[in-house]
Amino acid sequence: MKFISAIIKPFKLDEVREALSAIGVQGITVTEVKGFGRQKGHTELYRGAEYVVDFLPKVKVEIAIDDKILDQVIEAIEKSAATGKIGDGKIFVFNLEQVTRIRTGETGSEAL
């Protein structure tokens, strides 16, 4: 099993969700986050005070999947979240050791 954490542009969230649903991903967890990579921040000016805002708003999408569909999932996110401009985000993949569905007590792939 794999755990995927993808950082994407906030306005791409719906497209990513649709692309993931289309290939059978059952659930996703979404968090609004801030961060910076190569994309530069912006400057805000309040009367005489100028502030450089480095951290930009992004959305973090987390999903747990079976090994078999890993490539499909990465491809789906990559295509749906891309704009071609700097700041499109990244996809991180982790090995996932254990999953338990709280309601039934199922574990492993069945619990995904």
Partner: protein, 481 residues
């Protein structure tokens, strides 16, 4: 019938001569009433109405004069207008609170709202107890009134106050309330300078002392009977010196004495809600119509003039600030437009009753551009953490307005000054008023902060400042989302 009565009263007064008007600009108004009847817009309407009927009036005049002493006119329209103006000015309290509140960080929102609300209430009570008597009481000293109306002694619903027109009066209670709001509002303006770090008890103590030592004497000098600056001929229609320069200087002294906020110049101290700031500025604009046009004390063309000036000058200042920002910073901001509105309102305040609409627009533009410099270039020069730019907006705008009042009151520039109006000498008188106010307020503020510091201490602890004043000073949070 009422018209006839007012004409009779006017003619009687003209006959009896002017008998001591109490308020600012009464000198020109009195001159107009006796000599240059048509020159001053204030006096135009009633006097013109009276002229054609002069032939019939003398028959009735003796009877009127024989009646016990005087027959002052109290017009229901004037009284209504002044009560509505008073209520409009109260709208500036939430306006200012929201304007300031939006500019602080969310952890200090309630502390600013609370300081504005309670300082206003505190000064209102002090006004009734001794403020009114010392500022507008029966005493005619050059600097201060007397204790004759302590606790509003002797004032009843039949008591009357003078207006700018001889013989036309308004109920004294209405005048007391109208002037009370000015006093309260002036003290609340200062809150913006030391916001986000001062102790609540220190704010209240400072406000009470400063109101007593600075607001009352300056108000008396500019507006009160026998006041020094009034005698010099200084023009301050609705309070450019009394309210804005006075408060701004006290604020600047406070910014120095309370010290900079933790993280000032290093961390981002961003406004938490500019939507509220814009709403506050808009409420201030609405309330300011009562402030400026109400200062005419009568529902006449003079009030109309103050009204259009409050409209056009403010609009011009919004444009000026936005244009200035767009050219110097690259973008015109909402905060800039809202600040421009307040700058324009401040700048036109002393001028609104005596300059023409075009002069008003020029004053608005000048106020907008110069206050933008006040919160950027000048702020850097001063080196104080005047949190919400009270001096940059109210101080600079107040000084610009006070001086330009001396320019655009000139009849050749569309103002209502007399034909022999001298721009140079008037600007000097205006400058004198500005300098006296700056020095007086600075010393009074210094004393008031020192006393507050000795008794309760000015600043909250570093820990409380980081935590935010809402929870540490007031035990509540503005937003529980």
């Amino acid at each position: 019938m009422k018209k006839v009565l007012s004409i009779l009263a006017l003619v009687t007064t003209l006959g009896l001569g002017f008998t001591g008007n109490v308020l600012a600009e009464d000198a020109p108004a009195a001159d107009a009433a006796t000599t240059e009847v048509v020159a001053t817009p204030d006096a135009v309407a009633p006097v013109e109405a009276a002229t054609p009927e002069v032939a019939t009036a003398p028959e009735a005049a003796p009877a009127e004069a024989a009646a016990p002493e005087v027959a002052p006119t109290v017009d229901k329209g004037d009284t209504t207008w002044m009560m509505i103006s008073t209520i409009l000015v109260v709208l500036m309290v939430p306006g200012l609170a929201l304007f300031y509140g939006g500019l602080v960080r969310s952890k200090n929102m309630l502390s600013v709202l609370m300081q504005v609300f309670v300082v206003f209430s505190l000064v209102s009570v002090l006004w009734a107890v001794y403020g009114y008597s010392l500022a507008f009481g029966s005493g005619a000293g050059p600097i201060i009134g007397d204790f004759g109306k302590l606790f509003l002694a002797g004032v009843t619903s039949d008591s009357l106050s003078d207006t700018f027109t001889a013989g036309v009066k308004i109920p004294e209670y209405v005048f007391i309330a109208f002037q009370c709001i000015f006093a309260g509002l002036t003290a609340t303006l200062i809150v913006g300078s030391f916001a986000e770090r001062i102790k609540f008890s220190a704010v209240l103590l400072f406000s009470a002392i400063w109101f007593t030592l600075s607001y009352i004497p300056i108000a008396h000098m500019v507006w009160g009977a026998g006041g020094y600056l009034l005698g010099q001929g200084a023009l301050d229609f609705a309070g450019g010196t009394v309210v804005h320069i006075n408060a701004a200087v006290a604020g600047l002294v406070g910014a120095y004495m309370v010290g900079k906020r933790i993280g000032y110049g290093k961390e981002a101290l961003t406004p938490h809600n500019l939507t509220l700031t814009m709403l506050g500025a808009a409420l201030l604009w609405v309330g300011w119509f009562g402030f400026n046009a109400g200062s005419n004390l009568e529902a006449t063309g003079g009030a109309g003039l103050a009204l259009v000036n409050t409209l056009f000058a403010t609009a011009a200042a919004v444009l000026a600030w936005s244009i200035g920002e767009a050219f110097t910073k690259g973008k015109a901001s909402m905060l800039g437009a809202a600040s421009g509105a307040v700058a324009g309102l401040v700048a036109i305040t002393p001028a609104c009753g005596s300059v023409g609409p075009m002069g008003g627009i020029v004053i608005g533009f000048a106020g907008g551009f110069l206050c933008l410099w006040g919160v950027t270039g000048l702020k850097k020069l001063l080196g104080a953490d005047d949190s919400l730019d009270v001096f940059g907006v109210h101080g600079v705008g107040g000084i610009v307005g006070a001086l330009l009042t001396g320019v655009f009151t000139a009849p050749s520039l569309g103002g209502t000054g007399k034909p022999d109006f001298s721009i140079a000498s008037q600007v000097i008188v205006q400058g004198e008023g500005v300098i006296i106010t700056i020095i007086w307020s600075a010393i009074a503020a210094f004393i008031a902060y020192k006393i507050a510091d000795l008794i309760v201490g000015l600043r909250v602890s570093e820990e409380a400042e980081r935590e935010g004043l809402d929870t540490t000073s007031h035990g509540e949070r503005a937003y529980n989302i």
